[in-house]
Amino acid sequence: MDASETFGFHTDRLSVLLFIAVFFGLVAWFLWRTRRGAQFYIRRIPGIDAIEDALGRATEMGRPVLYVPGVEEMYDIQTIASVLILGPVAERIARYGADLIVSCMIPFVMTVSQEVVKQSYSNAGRPEAFKQDNIRYISYEQFAFAAGTNGIMMRERPATNFFFGRFYAESLMLAETGLQTGAVQIAATAEISQLPFFIVTCDFTLLGEELFAASAYLSKEPKLLSTLKAADWTKVAVIGLILIGVVTHTIWADADPFFNWFTVK
């Protein structure tokens, strides 16, 4: 048994356990409050409010809406957030009677997106309007996917482009082409290195955690709202811990027990 293990328990990872426990405790607390009828306030996020206008514009112009759920696998947290947002977005599109094209790089994401969009069209009372062929797998290769999605933008001329999820080097190629076609573009990613490209080419960009807030904001789903509230108060705790840590680490340097408690081995 390792020195840091007590009865098979990794004491060196106690800090991780505590963070997870506090976070899930907060989620459970807010969920319990939601179920008892508590209403939570979430500040307005301009990029999310713009989604409604962008969808209205596409409907008025009679042109499709393009949704790209990132380029990562389904288990990536940003892809999960993106697919969660796709649900309410597809539901609104179904109500307005516009067309939705989803361009996917990962086959499994396409399958999940098809299920989500199909469900959304049913929720909107228009299951017959769902077009399975509009949820497309382009290619597993990053730049082939970018080339294929650019082709969709140039030929089918979507009036609105959504880039929600994790993106890498293809982000600028996609958003720049969308800009040339004159589409309203809204992007959301927590991939810090790609945010600058979206900021310069898109009409609205949701920064980092706003991507995760968007799914809760749009769906008003109690579980997601509770998670968002829990994340908010975890941030407050994190700010407090960082400030305490800065003071103690400045005083005791490497001998600081508070700082060392966070070391994960």
Binding site: V16, V112, E115, Y140, F145, A147, I192, I199
Partner: protein, 255 residues
């Protein structure tokens, strides 16, 4: 150099220029290159996933186990359990037959749920605890003062971090003092995005220069340079001009 390599070099030059023709406008040459690119990558991935993933990790152990292959039984004594992922994989194809299409949701739910569960520990450790610890800086610095490692820079980065974190607080309207702090957080982020943008643009330019060099500079891999690129420019330009004339023929009064 083999004939295949020579043909490959010429094709690489042609397809590079065909893709670059998109800078002018969408045209049949770009569409051709795009479809070849997408098709070849789809075929390549199918072969790769089959022979590098499905065969060694799933099909081979099952096949060897069923045929009582000694090596397989030694390497995979629990080979029969592989029938579970095989069944889940096959359930994905249930989508193709409407009466049982709903069964395809089982493997999807399993994958999303399992990965979300297993990634919690890694995410909490790497994205939270370690980040929090890294943010607890020693304001006196850790050695001789440098541009980054000095009390002013360290205090400024801590201040920027706190302001940026406050920007991502969604439970209160960003008004008054909170609004001011959040706005300062946005300024900090924008400065960092600007730096990141410039850095990446430099990287992209260096990629473009590398591609141009590979087409124009004579190397063992491209012994005929710059001819493939020059011929490619002529061919691509000629084809685009022909296409332009075809879609917009000169009016009767012209010529």
């Amino acid at each position: 150099m083999s004939t295949a390599e020579i043909v490959g070099t010429w094709l690489a030059a042609f397809f590079t220029l065909a893709i670059l023709s998109f800078l002018y406008k969408d045209n049949p040459l770009y569409k051709f290159a795009e479809h070849v690119f997408v098709g070849v990558s789809a075929g390549y991935q199918l072969v790769r996933q089959t022979f590098d993933v499905a065969w060694p990790n799933l099909l081979q152990p099952l096949w060897g186990g069923l045929h009582r292959d000694v090596d397989t039984l030694k390497a995979h004594p629990q080979w029969a359990f592989y029938s579970i992922p095989l069944a889940f994989g096959l359930l994905m194809f249930a989508r193709l037959w409407k009466p049982i299409a709903h069964l395809s949701r089982w493997p999807m739910s399993y994958i999303v749920g399992a990965f979300a569960g297993t990634s919690i520990i890694g995410a909490a450790s790497a994205d939270l605890v370690i980040q929090v610890q890294s943010s607890m800086v020693n304001l006196r610095g850790t050695g001789p003062w440098t541009l980054i490692d000095n009390p002013f820079s360290l205090a400024l980065s801590t201040f920027g971090l706190v302001c940026a974190l406050i920007y991502f607080f969604f439970s209160k309207e960003h008004k008054g003092a909170l609004g001011v702090v959040a706005r300062i957080g946005v300024y900090f982020m924008m400065v960092s995005f600007g730096g990141s943008f410039g850095f990446t643009v430099m990287g992209r330019l260096s990629l473009a220069v590398g591609r141009a060099q590979s087409l124009l500079v004579r190397t063992p891999l491209n012994p005929h340079a710059p001819w493939p690129a020059l011929v490619g420019v002529v061919v691509v330009t000629a084809l685009i001009v022909i296409w332009e004339r075809k879609i917009s023929p000169p009016s009767a009064g012209e010529g």
